[in-house]
């Protein structure tokens, strides 16, 4: 089971004020029945009121819970959809935040990432490639092209200065990568994400649902170590944190692993000697298998089940008030 929009589950917080307002209404209702209700049937009236209130409030809360679950887009199981494509389009999204200048991987995380891209483009000569660089914002450095020369040239200029917005936002990187696939393309599509996973802004999981829907896997390359290192500045001294101590940046594989797993991609470690071979063969295999099978599996959405329960609960909550309860208790 997968929750495609996990952030929507924050909607459960609505239950707190709703339950508080329901409890307040109940207490007020009891007080008013005590004041206005018939003295000869005080207990019966109070009992009917309590039961009505309970069922009405409970059904309404059930409605809210299931409406939030429906909006969270829960999926389980898979169904095949036709995928009639040939060839391979790859958008390479490179993290160019300052943490990528860390030297826990020699000569630096960014240089190693660019080296991987350079080697990968040579191993996949028939693929069209685009290059997206991201930091706090993202920019398409090279649009999707067969022109390997163009990609080769621009790789030399890839660095933190390409984008002025500070931070690390994998979400904008993935969104820009998604935008870089032209509609007219007939090829299979994949994204190669090179990052240390240290996402400071944005919600990296947000574009994942769209990527899953379109059948675009993300091959993530972890560029850095979990032990981390300092980030050298242009004069060689390390970047300092707020306390004046050298800031340590550590690679976070969890984010990249999650994105890769949920989109049907794979995670690679830039420190591994066969990272380029593994990455290239994973991309080739992906295109070959898809082309041979002619279909892909997409998650089966189950929102209708939850929404159906929510609507029934809403009607039940309303019916409790509409139905006369006289003589039933």
């Amino acid at each position: 089971m997968t929750i495609e929009s996990p952030r929507v589950l924050m909607g459960f917080l609505i239950l707190l004020p709703v339950v508080a307002l329901q409890a307040r209404a109940y207490l007020k209702g009891r007080a008013e029945i005590s004041r206005l209700g018939p003295m000869w049937a005080h207990e019966t009236t109070m009992r009917v009121y309590t039961v009505k209130w309970f069922f009405s409030a409970f059904a309404y809360d059930v409605f809210l819970v299931f409406a939030v679950l429906a909006a969270a887009d829960i999926t389980w199981g898979e169904r095949p959809v036709e995928e009639d494509r040939a060839g391979l389009d790859v958008v390479i999204a490179v993290d160019i935040s300052h943490s990528m200048l860390a030297t826990d991987i020699e000569p630096s995380r960014l240089d190693r990432a660019i080296g991987v891209v350079r080697a990968m483009t040579r191993q996949l000569p028939s693929a069209r490639m685009a290059l997206v660089a991201f930091k706090g914002a993202a920019v398409t450095v090279t649009p999707l092209t067969e022109d390997a020369n163009a990609l080769e040239v621009v790789l030399d200029g890839v660095g933190p200065a390409l984008v002025s917005a500070p931070g690390t936002n994998i979400e904008v990187g993935l969104n820009e990568a998604l935008r870089s696939f032209p509609e007219a393309s007939f090829a299979h599509r994949a994204i190669v994400l090179l990052s240390d996973g240290e996402a400071l802004d944005g919600e990296a999981d947000r574009p994942v649902a769209e990527l899953r829907r379109r059948g675009i896997p993300v091959m993530a390359v972890l560029t850095g170590t979990t032990d981390g290192s300092t980030i050298p500045t242009s004069d060689g001294t390390p970047v300092l944190d707020r306390d004046g101590r050298p800031a340590i940046t550590r690679a976070d594989p969890a984010v990249l692993e999650r994105i890769a797993a949920r989109t049907g991609g794979a995670l690679f470690d830039v420190g591994s000697p066969d990272v380029v071979t593994g990455l290239s063969s994973a991309l080739s295999r992906f295109a070959t298998v898809r082309q041979r099978e002619g279909f892909r599996l997409v998650p089966r959405r189950r929102y209708r089940l939850f929404l159906g329960i929510a609507i029934v609960a809403l009607l039940a909550s309303t019916s409790v008030r509409v139905v006369r309860w006289r003589g039933m208790l």
Partner: protein, 333 residues
């Protein structure tokens, strides 16, 4: 276009009038008091219209709007669009655009030569669908600005950022053609073409235009040359990108048509003279007609589910109803 995954579920909406009747108008519903005015022949009374009664009405409308929206979401609404994918390879085209200062001459009133050329390239691109298009800018030097791509949005955004004078004061036509040819070299497109737009004579760069034209021909690349600008005296207005200084004046400078014709001949291409907007458009139309290949395409249906947005709206409407009833109408059940 809007379609539904399970349109049958929309039949549930037929129950809405009955539910509205039961909740708001049925005399036997709970929460009502009945007065026997009829026995006395009286007309009873109607509650006065107050702000509270208006709010209750708003709450009721919100409730049913929310309910309807949720039922619609249950039916699986989807926005359907068609996406055209091309099964065949288009023509690779690279524009080689002169960015020398003389391109600021205003003989395409109200535009200058550069703006007129740029507008025409934009129009040309808008008529293409699967042809990778790139652009090389040249002045004193030449540089690839966009490699051949079908991402036309990116192409146009870079084209719009290009400025006169940014490649220096000079006209390196040979370098421009050579750069374009280099980036078309490995292309396996059925046809490849370079479209050169210039208003001057080659006076810079290490590669002679004739050499570049021969190289293009040997690589199977077609060369179209469009000579822009009129022969007479023309106003010019240009801002120096280094100093920001605005310079105005008149020029009487033209390109060497014979050299252009010879260049087109060497490359086995064609030369067009574009002294006016109409002539420029005619040149582009001629190239557009020639540089076409038969293309096979596939139409895909793309479905974008809308249920999540509708669930948010539905819950929002119902929230308005809940808040009004609890906070303003002071309902206790």
């Amino acid at each position: 276009m809007l379609v539904f995954d399970r349109p049958g579920l929309l039949l549930l909406l037929l129950a809405v009038p009955l539910l509205i009747y039961l909740r708001h108008f049925w005399r036997g519903r709970g929460g009502t008091l009945t007065f026997p005015f009829g026995v006395w022949g009286g007309r009873g009374f109607t509650p006065p219209r107050t702000a509270a009664s208006l709010l209750v009405a708003v709450a009721a409308i919100s409730f049913w709007a929310g309910f309807v929206v949720l039922v619609v979401a249950l039916a699986g609404p989807q926005r359907v669009s068609r996406e055209r994918s091309y099964l065949t390879r288009g023509v690779d085209i690279v524009f080689v655009l002169d960015q020398s200062p003389t391109m600021a001459a205003r003989d395409f009133q109200p535009e200058n030569r550069f703006e007129a050329a740029r507008a025409m390239i934009r129009r040309f691109v808008s008529l293409r669908q699967n042809d990778p298009i790139g652009v090389v800018g040249f002045g004193l030097e030449a540089s690839l600005r966009v490699p051949p791509t079908i991402d036309y949005e990116h192409f146009v955004s870079v084209l719009d950022q290009m400025e006169i004078f940014e490649m220096g004061d000079g006209t390196a036509i040979g370098m421009g053609i050579a750069t374009a040819a280099l980036h078309l070299e490995r292309s396996n497109a059925p046809r490849k073409a370079i479209i050169l737009l210039t208003d001057g004579v080659n006076n810079a760069g290490e590669i002679q235009p004739e050499t570049a034209a021969r190289a293009a021909r040997s690589l199977g690349i077609g060369l179209y040359i469009i000579g822009i600008g009129s022969d007479g005296e023309v106003e010019i207005e240009i801002r120096d990108p280094q100093t920001g200084q605005l310079m105005r004046g008149t020029i009487r400078e033209s390109f060497d048509q014979d050299a252009m014709l010879e260049l087109a001949d060497i490359a086995g291409g064609r030369y067009f003279y574009a002294g006016s907007s109409t002539a420029l458009q005619a040149a582009f139309d001629a190239i557009d007609t020639v540089e076409r290949v038969e293309q096979r395409s596939l139409l895909r249906v793309v479905r974008e589910p809308l249920d999540q947005v509708l669930i948010f709206w539905g819950v929002g409407f119902l929230g308005v109803d809940f808040l009004i009833r609890r906070l303003f109408a002071r309902e206790v059940v």
